[in-house]
Symmetry: C2
Subunit: 344 residues, 2 copies
């Protein structure tokens, strides 16, 4: 079989603010691949089906010498992130043609992973759950919620939690975990449609932070015992300021600050002392070993049965990947953003 075009989304240039499609990232069709004969060298050939688009990708679009919690993308190489693919060919006994794999995938229609340990075969007894969910509520974002909840939330029935970006894949699972544990949930999101979804999944109070003042809502509905922070900035400031005695704050994202050059100054830190708050930064990778098996045991079943709800916002075609990334950075996506690269 003759080589075919292998579309790829390339990291071209470090952005100074928002990542610009066609400039920061460029869709490239110059590469080809021979599906039957491309040498695998003990690896596998993967056909990419779905790719996750997450806020944290912005942090990887930086100069290689600047340290952060996640390695940077390489200029002129494809982006990569969590995804689900299908094995086309395999030279590794752990993988077979037709298997579905989850893990770090290149933003490419096809690719041969150098590090195969970052992929695992999806075992899917919950066969009604679409593969796309394995990069969302049943994937890294869902794991983030689950691990943080287990490790830092210390929830008690009757307490009050505030969740920012509560309609997103991380926040919406936190809302549902909190309701399951008997908490009052205050949820904020960036559109009326997202606010509606927050209420559908059980939030007691849900508001559009673009039209409603967060600090006022917290002053009225709080004080809060737990704050799940996905945004940083003034929202974090308001949450710290409205935290109750021995409140817990889980900092899981800083989306409002990823694209700002000048960081926002938090003026309410004195309440950390006054109310003896506990603030913890959360990164999913730190807690995989402890909770990953438990997560796969518990969460996909609840998602497949409908007990836990999720939503997706799908972009079709890798060539639209740059736009999908920008939408997530600007928060104009309507739900967990997925790029469907190819059908199963």
């Amino acid at each position: 079989m003759a080589p075919i075009t292998n579309g790829r989304l390339i990291f071209k240039e470090i952005p100074s603010g928002y990542p610009v499609p066609g400039k920061t990232t460029v869709y490239d069709k110059s590469s080809t691949i021979d599906l039957e004969n491309a040498p695998l060298k003990g690896s596998i050939l993967v056909k990419t089906l779905v790719l996750s688009v997450d806020p944290y990708l912005r942090g990887k679009m930086r100069a290689a010498e600047r340290e952060s919690y996640t390695p940077p993308f390489f200029i002129d190489e494809p982006l990569y992130n969590y995804g689900v693919g299908k094995v086309v060919r395999s030279e590794n006994p752990a993988f077979h043609a037709g298997d579905h794999v989850y893990g770090m995938l290149d933003f490419a229609e096809y690719f041969i992973p150098k590090d195969i340990t970052k992929l695992k075969v999806i075992v899917r007894p919950e066969s009604t759950l679409p593969y796309s969910v394995y990069v969302g509520a049943a994937g890294m974002p869902g794991q983030t919620s689950y691990y943080g909840w287990k490790e830092y939330a210390k929830p008690k029935a009757g307490e009050t939690i505030f969740v920012s970006t509560a309609a997103g894949p991380v926040g919406s699972l936190v809302v549902q975990l909190a309701k399951q544990d008997g908490l009052k949930v205050i949820a904020s999101a960036g559109s009326d449609e997202k606010v509606k979804f927050c209420k559908e999944i059980g939030a007691d109070v849900a508001f559009n932070y673009k039209t409603t003042n967060t600090a006022e809502v917290l002053a009225k509905e709080g004080p809060i015992n737990i704050y799940w922070d996905n945004v940083g900035g003034p929202t974090l400031e308001a949450a710290i300021g409205n935290s109750a005695l021995h409140g817990r704050i889980i900092i899981c994202g800083f989306i409002t600050q990823y694209n700002d050059e000048e960081p926002y100054g938090i003026k309410t830190m004195r309440n950390v002392l006054a109310n003896r708050l506990s603030i913890n930064g959360l990164l999913v990778f730190d807690h995989q070993e402890r909770y990953l098996d438990e997560f796969y045991e518990v969460i996909p079943k609840k998602l497949a049965s409908g007990e836990f709800k999720y939503t997706e916002d799908i972009t079709r075609g890798l060539e639209k990947g740059g736009e999908a990334i920008l939408e997530v950075q600007k928060g104009v996506n309507t739900a967990k953003k997925i790029i469907v690269v190819a059908d199963d």
Copy 2:
């Protein structure tokens, strides 16, 4: 015996910035007490020997309706704080004339406590340790250090800690606990004399924050694994910004901000996520139950033997109490500030 004058330091007025002696606090000689006949109603009559002057007292000089972690002082009533007194008379079987008691004492030469449960008789097998130390390194400040170290520091030998106000009663014990556990200690203090004391108690790096840039020291000597914060403000900002992966920050005081109306905005909170920091507010009272007996078992011995060092800055006479309080707020005291009200 005829009634004698009972000098008292009265809380007269809520200050807007620093507490002004003669205005915020007034030394009052209008009250008298009859030492032999004053009715005790089941309580005891205490002669005040020493009183502790602590930074947190500023927080009690506020409007009664403003909530905080410690109750406010009452206008026209004496201030109160930790101290050591001698029992003159007792109608309570747990106390005897001649006993030395530790606990919450009025800023008065003599007083009859309403709530006797806040006092305990000092058992002092380490008879070389002066009573004044029981309001310092062997009292509440020392307990603060010990509890925070046990509960939140999670020290590992070879790690680096930064301690602010490291020559103070809390900081200096933290420095010594850290050295005992094999850490590299960076210490900051507000005078060259204090810096010298930091070095004497083992700090590897000690600097005067008034003449040396804290952020520069931390960038050079860090990153830091633990930060013991007594000050808040730009120092806290620098410490968060220079914290290592999984760093621990213990917020134990906010002295730079107690007298400011406009709080400082901390711009480095993103590092809480990037390096998954853990920040905890520490108040000594939260941990009494768990660690108090252990503290008295461990620390006074080490102080009496000279293994752990301490310093004191003594003001003689309750009439100078207002000045002593102001010195501590301004940080011009040279060590743990004690008011000696009367000799034993």
